[in-house]
């Protein structure tokens, strides 16, 4: 059946108002089902999709840029890019560079940061949203946000001047009691604790506010009725959180952690200031050895020649891929339970 509207209806949007309300006298109302709201919607959709596409274009350009520059570098690398420890791309005789140490250091330090930061951040977020008395919660939330406002370089200085000396004791203690685990063995005792482990701790502090802030907002959105449903079943506060709050906030926590992880993976100056970098891949994470992608870029960029810069881009590309894999995994976890989304409450 044709759905063309009567011609006299086709122009106007239905006048929305009824000055005296609906119980007032009848008012002639014109109406067409083919309203013009498509214009606003189209515009808004265009803006949204356009933004998405713009973002995509930027990222695609960056990716293309990295791939292109990496291609140049890797083709000139005389050694295996993935297994080489050292970084000497500007050696005219034998350009040789590889990401083994950097990939290890990046993954380990970011991993340590996540292991420390995620539980603590969730704890703090819960503290703010469900535990702290209201009067404490608000100011404390601001305070945690304050951590996010501290520039990286300050974290670096604080890390090098304050954190490292305070971790020396912990380091030798870990070595004494957990040295048998191999991982916590210290090759050279007495040296300052400028290791991947320390970097992990520092990164944990740096990403803490990101994860906390986003999780906190998510926890605040948990509908009261679900919390009440759990409490009415005789749940303790913690059980209520486990039943109603955490599952509801799960995708949010994962996303928040991914944001934090992104920062941990890409952090430059703070790591460069604290880590004693080297081209040694040490499985003893307390040893002052190793490097990360971003730290390496910072250390090598200033004096890099043109191949040197390309080589750094190649390392950047690998960091991209790592970020992608981790995020992809996180997305999968979230997507698996999509139909259990809290929005359907």
């Amino acid at each position: 059946m044709t759905s063309s509207p009567p011609p006299d209806f086709s122009t106007s949007e239905p006048p929305p108002s009824a000055p005296k309300g609906q119980v007032s006298a009848e008012q002639p109302k014109q109406s067409s089902l083919k309203g013009n709201s498509r214009l606003g919607d189209g515009l808004f959709f265009g803006l949204s999709a356009g933004s998405g596409i713009l973002l995509l274009a930027i990222m695609a350009a960056i990716a293309a840029f990295l791939i292109w520059r990496s291609g140049i570098a890797i083709s000139k690398d005389q050694t295996n890019f993935f297994t080489t420890f050292g970084w000497d791309p500007d050696n005219i005789l034998k350009p040789s560079f590889g990401i083994a140490v950097l990939a290890f250091g990046t993954v380990v330090s970011a991993g340590i940061a996540m292991v420390i930061a995620v539980p603590i951040a969730i704890g703090i977020a819960l503290f703010i949203s469900h535990y702290a008395p209201r009067r404490i919660a608000q100011p404390f939330a601001y305070l945690v946000d304050l951590l996010a406002a501290i520039p990286s370089i300050i974290y670096g200085l604080w890390g090098a001047l304050f954190l490292v000396p305070h971790l020396n004791g912990l380091n030798s203690w870990l070595n004494d009691y957990l040295g048998w685990t191999y991982v916590f063995k210290l090759s050279q005792s007495g040296a300052p604790a400028r290791s991947l482990f320390t970097v992990g701790i520092l990164l944990a502090i740096m990403v803490l506010p990101i994860i906390t802030a986003v999780s906190r907002e998510v926890f605040r959105q948990v509908p009261r009725m679900h919390e009440e449903a759990a409490l009415a079943l005789g749940a303790t506060r913690w059980e209520m959180i486990r039943t109603a709050v955490l599952p509801f906030g799960r995708p949010g926590i994962i996303s928040a952690s991914m944001l934090g992880l992104g920062r941990a993976l890409g952090e430059t100056i703070a790591v460069a200031t604290v880590l004693s970098s080297s081209s040694v891949l040490s499985l003893h994470i307390l040893d002052a050895q190793g490097g990360t992608f971003a730290q390496n870029i910072a250390a090598k960029f200033g004096e890099a020649g043109s191949l040197g810069k390309d080589a750094l881009m190649a390392a950047g590309l690998v960091l991209f891929v790592i970020t992608l894999l981790v995020n992809g995994a996180a997305r999968l976890i979230i997507a698996r339970r999509k139909e259990y989304s809290g929005a359907n409450a």
Partner: protein, 360 residues
């Protein structure tokens, strides 16, 4: 109706203890345990000759968690004990967060407060030999940071917000998947890579010179994924029934998003944007590469180099590197933190003004 009778054959439900006043620890128990744990922690610290006070604290925290759990498990039963465990762990998390926070803040204030005064805030470094003594200020850097961050936010926040809106409200197809994919990758871009990209495209290929604006381009790239992802999460939590209620009133989708969905999520969105601003306001490497340095006031972000606070801090620390440089660096850090916090407060004020009214 026959089904209802099925309930009649009740199975014995295992051990549901129905006493209202199960044995409980006294109200002062947590405080008492905390005190005992701290005392013990210190005792062990002294006894074992542990130098780092951090360790003392960690031991005390651990003791606190373990003792309250053990005590509660014995007196109150496992469910209460678990609840107490969670509570004490959350308090420990809180304290663990307070330590570095307090330390960092104390450190920064202590080191920086000495130089922060009217002159410092209203003068540039022009004509000052930084390495020889005090003097000069950060006004030029303050201007630069505000402009660069402002420009970056003006570019990235709308794009990020709209992208998140697209992903949550519209996106179901391939485009959404691809955008999501790239946003994810974007979260991990080291700032210096973003800087290099802008340098290659904007400054080298297109031939633009140093300017605050080219720095803000890189900052915008760094900011977008944070805005997108945090906003996305917040929008996802807006109950669908609110959208439906709005649609049913004949409100077009875009108005629903603008006036119903976004306001409901405004608190979280603000937090996300502020996080992103905080992050880029502290960036050094790309700004140095794209904006350069400048010791005088340049209020035009589109022409010529500018200073920015992180770059100023970096220079004073790494290059000037004497007591005066340090003092200026910490002073600038203090101002930068205060600046971001000020913005945060303002944004929250605005957000609260439009955010969900309380109620259940």
């Amino acid at each position: 109706m026959t089904t209802a009778t099925a309930v009649a054959d009740r199975r014995p439900i295992p051990q549901l203890n129905h006493s209202l006043t199960a044995a409980r620890l006294p109200r002062w128990a947590p405080a008492g345990v905390a005190g005992a744990a701290i005392a013990l922690g210190c005792a062990i610290g002294v006894g074992a000759g542990l130098k780092s006070h951090l360790q003392w604290g960690l031991i005390a925290a651990l003791l606190f968690v373990v003792i309250s759990f053990g005590l509660s498990a014995k007196v109150e039963g496992t469910r209460q004990a678990k609840d107490r465990l969670a509570t004490s762990m959350i308090w420990v998390a809180f304290i663990l967060a307070v330590i570095p926070l307090a330390s960092l803040l104390f450190y920064t204030v202590q080191q920086g407060i000495g130089v922060v005064n009217g002159d410092f805030l209203t003068h540039s470094m022009r004509g000052v030999v930084a390495a020889s003594g005090p003097g000069g200020g950060i006004y030029h850097a303050l201007v630069g940071t505000l402009q660069q961050v402002g420009l970056a936010t003006a570019m990235a926040a709308p794009v990020g917000l709209f992208t998140a809106v697209y992903l949550v409200e519209y996106g179901r197809g391939t485009l959404a998947k691809v955008v999501t994919f790239f946003v994810d990758v974007m979260t991990g871009i080291p700032s210096i890579v973003a800087g290099l990209f802008v340098l290659s495209v904007w400054n080298i290929a297109l031939g633009f010179q140093y300017s605050g604006f080219s720095g803000s381009l890189a900052l915008a790239i760094l900011m977008m994924p944070v805005v997108v992802r945090s906003t996305e999460e917040m929008l996802k939590l807006v109950p669908n029934e609110l959208r439906e209620a709005s649609y049913a009133l004949g409100v077009p989708r875009w108005k629903t998003i603008l006036w119903i969905v976004l306001p409901t999520a405004i608190g979280g969105i603000t937090t996300g944007v502020m996080l992103a601003i905080a992050r880029i306001a502290g960036e050094t490497a790309p700004v140095m590469m794209l904006v350069g340095v400048w010791d005088s006031i340049n209020a035009n972000p589109f022409v010529g180099s500018q200073e920015s606070l992180p770059v100023f801090i970096w220079q004073q620390y790494s290059q000037v590197n004497d007591q005066y440089g340090y003092a200026r660096a910490w002073g600038a850090a203090l101002v930068l933190i205060a600046l971001v916090m000020g913005l945060n407060l303002i944004a929250r004020g605005i957000a609260r003004w439009r955010s969900p009214k309380s109620g259940h």
